[in-house]
């Protein structure tokens, strides 16, 4: 085999390996592909009294439930759906902020739960 053919072989191998690794990287960094995680976050972290949240779901299961706690007391509770790969917005800020030191938003999904909270200084 001439040197030129060996050189072509070298580049073919490099391009093949690179294409394989490139695709692998795209798959791995795809938030949805073969993933099992979800997040919750405040939509407006800069607004202290606002507890609206967004739930980002990257699991197959779309069933969620949220609870709002004033201190240790559950004041609101409801189920909701968040399709795979979507950001589900929940506008759940109560009209009047409870007079407690901590308001917690708890989201339950299958056997896991995540919480967000805001701390307030009582007058």
């Amino acid at each position: 085999m001439s040197n030129r053919l060996l050189l072509i072989l070298f580049f073919v191998l490099f391009i093949t390996s690179s294409a394989f690794l490139f695709e692998r990287s795209l798959n791995e960094l795809d938030q949805e592909a073969n993933k099992n995680w979800w997040t919750i976050s405040f939509i407006r972290p800069d607004r202290v009294k606002n507890i609206d949240i967004v739930v980002s779901n990257y699991t197959e299961d779309t069933h969620f439930k949220y609870q709002i706690l004033a201190g240790d007391t559950v004041i609101e509770e409801q189920g909701f759906e968040a399709p795979l790969g979507e950001n589900r917005i929940l506008l759940i800020t109560p009209e009047k902020t409870p007079e407690v030191e901590r308001v917690t938003v708890r989201v339950i999904h299958k056997d896991q739960q995540q919480e967000l909270f805001r701390n307030y200084k009582l007058k």
């Binding site: 085999m1 040197n3 030129r4 060996l6 050189l7 072989l9 070298f10 191998l13 490099f14 391009i15 093949t16 390996s17 690179s18 294409a19 394989f20 690794l21 490139f22 695709e23 692998r24 990287s25 795209l26 791995e28 960094l29 938030q31 993933k35 099992n36 995680w37 979800w38 997040t39 919750i40 976050s41 405040f42 972290p45 800069d46 202290v48 980002s56 990257y58 030191e101 901590r102 896991q112 995540q114 919480e115 967000l116 909270f117 805001r118 701390n119």
Partner: protein
């Protein structure tokens, strides 16, 4: 659709920027159809010339105030390369002297027979397979070093300007905690980032994708070819009538070198692990060092000043890519020169006259002139501007810099390679009396690195010994190759009474020993598991925080437990040290003078010290790993929890 829309643009850009430019410039120096270059040398020199062109070209236009974009880079490549081609052509014409005593010596090109071709194909296939399998799990961007480097590459491609390498620090001055203004840092050198930035500008590839690692992968593979090509010429340069020529030849040396660095010992440092780890400078150094030695060797052996010109250019280029590799190279070249002069002490004037006649030709002189003008009138490497050389020279001060033991070298470079290499060094020292350049090169390269690794105090080298040890595997491997070839070639030629079965058996035994140790070395490195999910979570959290903060906000994150944390800064691009980082715990323990705020703000945020640190630094967001550092914040009234997932949690300070 990823192949035509994402991969092809990257591949096309890579081939043009990394080979097209260089091949064009190379054709100005050598007539590529009738040149003394093998195909492997052509692509190696083309790649290195492309790097030289981009690194110096982009610095010239950057310092002139031009912004980096597709238009300006295309103009640079078009006009600049045409200019360089013209200059190279002119200089090379005058460099090739008509004096017959200066006529470059020609030799037959590398040519494999049928069996050797099969072996080459098998070796190159195995090499690509092993490295691809390893990178398959490490292709995603988690490596700390790579994250740091790509911050600067992204800064270049986003701003279109040359970067100012600086960082802010938290310091305690007279008991008061404060955040400094950006201070210069010497850890990064411009050549590590310019080509990546150019690749991204043209291809619009995602920095969080595969392209940086694929670029380093290419360099790593090319460095194997550089080593094999160097071996080829070194063996060619040692002709011995006492060696059987069907064993002792350049082609066998090429293949054996490819075996020792390709499928075997393919993954551990300084090879594929440096690729996935994003150790950009070292990876470049591992290509440029053997390539530069190849250039100088060819210049001397073939009496061809064009190779000398290339060697000088690549040396200067390396100085703008990686300080440690340049430092090592200068020691190696000095050792080679001294050893050669020592071996030729009786004909010193002849040797020096030969060297001078090679140097005093248009191309090498023009390269030297360009280097001096660029250095003094365009830009110096950052480590020289910041006077960082003093930190590398001196009596070793820390225990990590006082040298490795032979056992440690055996563990890092492979005991088989070390054993064979030491035999090779002996072979070169005592058995060859003809004092070839090959002998000086290999002895100098191996000996100086052994001294720098085992006894750095003798050379006043104050650098972590493990880092120097990473450079040792290459000359050890080549010495091992030479010894193995010489051993069997000698016995074969002498038709000694050794039965063929014993000779074959000894070769097979060494081969299996090397194969098993090299494969074990690979196997120990192959056990990485994918960190895709926690990495994606880190990126999601970083994007959230980037969307909800401004330059007035200050953030701290943890380096110990968050996956891919070094990449978080790429979502903000608000400074190299933004966000602040809680470093590895042992850094605070081993250096009591180090600031403790970054530790306190995450580990003990509710203490007086932690509180004071928050007040003085202005940090108002904390990013931590969800299973490790949340208890101290969850119980605190001073923080709100604003983002949560299995992997990353973000808290906001309530002021």
């Amino acid at each position: 659709m990823w192949f035509p829309t994402l991969f092809l643009p990257f591949l096309t850009t890579l081939l043009i920027l990394c080979f097209g430019i260089g091949l064009f410039l190379l054709s100005g120096i050598f007539n590529l159809k009738r040149s003394p270059l093998s195909v492997w040398e052509k692509i190696l020199f083309a790649f290195a010339l492309s790097q030289s062109f981009l690194i110096f070209g982009m610095q010239i236009i950057g310092h002139r105030g031009f912004s980096f974009n597709i238009f300006s880079l295309t103009l640079l490549i078009g006009v600049g390369s045409a200019l360089c081609f013209g200059v190279f052509s002119l200089l090379s014409r005058f460099t090739s002297s008509r004096d017959s005593s200066d006529t470059p010596k020609e030799e037959p090109p590398l040519s494999f027979n049928r069996h050797q071709t099969i072996v080459f194909v098998a070796l190159i296939l195995a090499t690509f397979l092993i490295k691809t399998v390893y990178l398959h799990n490490t292709i995603i961007p988690t490596a700390t070093d790579l994250g740091h480097h790509l911050y600067w590459a992204k800064a270049i491609s986003e701003s279109g300007e040359l970067p100012y390498y600086a960082e802010q620090n938290i310091v305690t001055v007279d008991g008061a905690i404060q955040v400094t203004e950006p201070e210069p840092i010497s850890d990064f050198i411009i050549g590590e980032h310019l080509t990546l930035a150019a690749l991204q500008i043209y291809s619009q590839a995602n920095y969080f994708g595969a392209f940086p690692i694929l670029f380093l992968f290419l360099i790593n593979i090319l460095s194997l070819l550089a080593l094999a090509t160097l071996s080829f010429y070194l063996v060619r340069g040692i002709s011995r009538s006492s060696f059987a020529s069907h064993i002792w030849n350049g082609e066998n040396a090429f293949l054996l070198t490819l075996l020792f660095f390709g499928p075997l010992y393919s993954l551990a440092s300084p090879q594929a692990k440096f690729v996935s780890g994003g150790v950009i400078g070292n990876t470049f150094g591992n290509l440029f060092i053997p390539l530069i030695l190849l250039c100088f060797y060819r210049a001397l052996r073939n009496r061809d000043s064009r190779f000398l010109g290339l060697g000088l250019l690549f040396t200067f280029t390396l100085a703008y890519i990686h300080h440690l590799s340049t430092f090592i190279l200068l020691f190696v070249l000095t050792a080679i020169i001294l050893i050669h002069l020592l071996l030729h002490v009786k004909s010193l004037s002849t040797v020096l006259r030969t060297w001078f006649s090679l140097l005093a030709k248009p191309l090498p002189l023009a390269i030297l002139t360009f280097a001096i003008l660029f250095f003094f009138f365009v830009a110096m490497p950052t480590y020289i501007e910041n006077s960082a050389i003093d930190t590398a020279v001196g009596t070793p001060t820390k225990t990590t810099r006082t040298g490795l033991t032979l056992l440690q070298i055996a563990n890092s470079s492979g005991s088989v390679r070390l054993a064979l290499a030491l035999m090779g060094v002996l072979f070169l020292s005592f058995l060859i009396r003809s004092k070839h350049y090959a002998q000086s090169f290999l002895l100098g390269w191996t000996a100086i690195l052994l001294v720098m690794t085992l006894r750095p105090d003798l050379l006043f080298v104050d650098i972590p010994s493990s880092r120097i040890g990473a450079y040792l595997s290459f000359p050890l491997g080549i010495s091992a190759v030479l010894f193995l070839l010489a051993f069997f070639a000698y016995w074969q030629k002498k038709h000694l009474a050794l039965p063929k079965v014993i000779m074959l058996g000894s070769f097979v035994a060494i081969f299996i020993f090397a194969l098993s140790e090299g494969s074990l070395d690979n196997g120990a490195t192959l056990l990485e598991t994918s960190k895709a999910e926690p990495l994606v979570a880190t990126m999601h959290a970083s994007q959230y925080l980037s969307n909800h903060t401004s330059t007035d906000d200050r953030i701290i994150k943890d380096h110990n437990f968050i996956v891919g944390d070094a990449w978080i800064k790429l979502f903000f691009m608000r400074g190299y040290s933004y966000p602040f980082s809680r470093a590895y715990f042992n850094r605070y323990e081993t250096n009591p003078d180090r600031e403790q705020c970054t530790l306190a703000m995450i580990s003990t945020p509710n203490t007086k010290d932690g509180d004071r640190c928050f007040q003085r630094t202005g940090v108002n967001f904390v990013m931590v790993e969800s299973s490790r550092d949340t208890a101290q914040f969850n119980s605190s009234k001073k923080f709100s929890k604003i983002y949560a997932s299995r992997y990353v949690t973000i808290y906001q300070k309530n002021y």
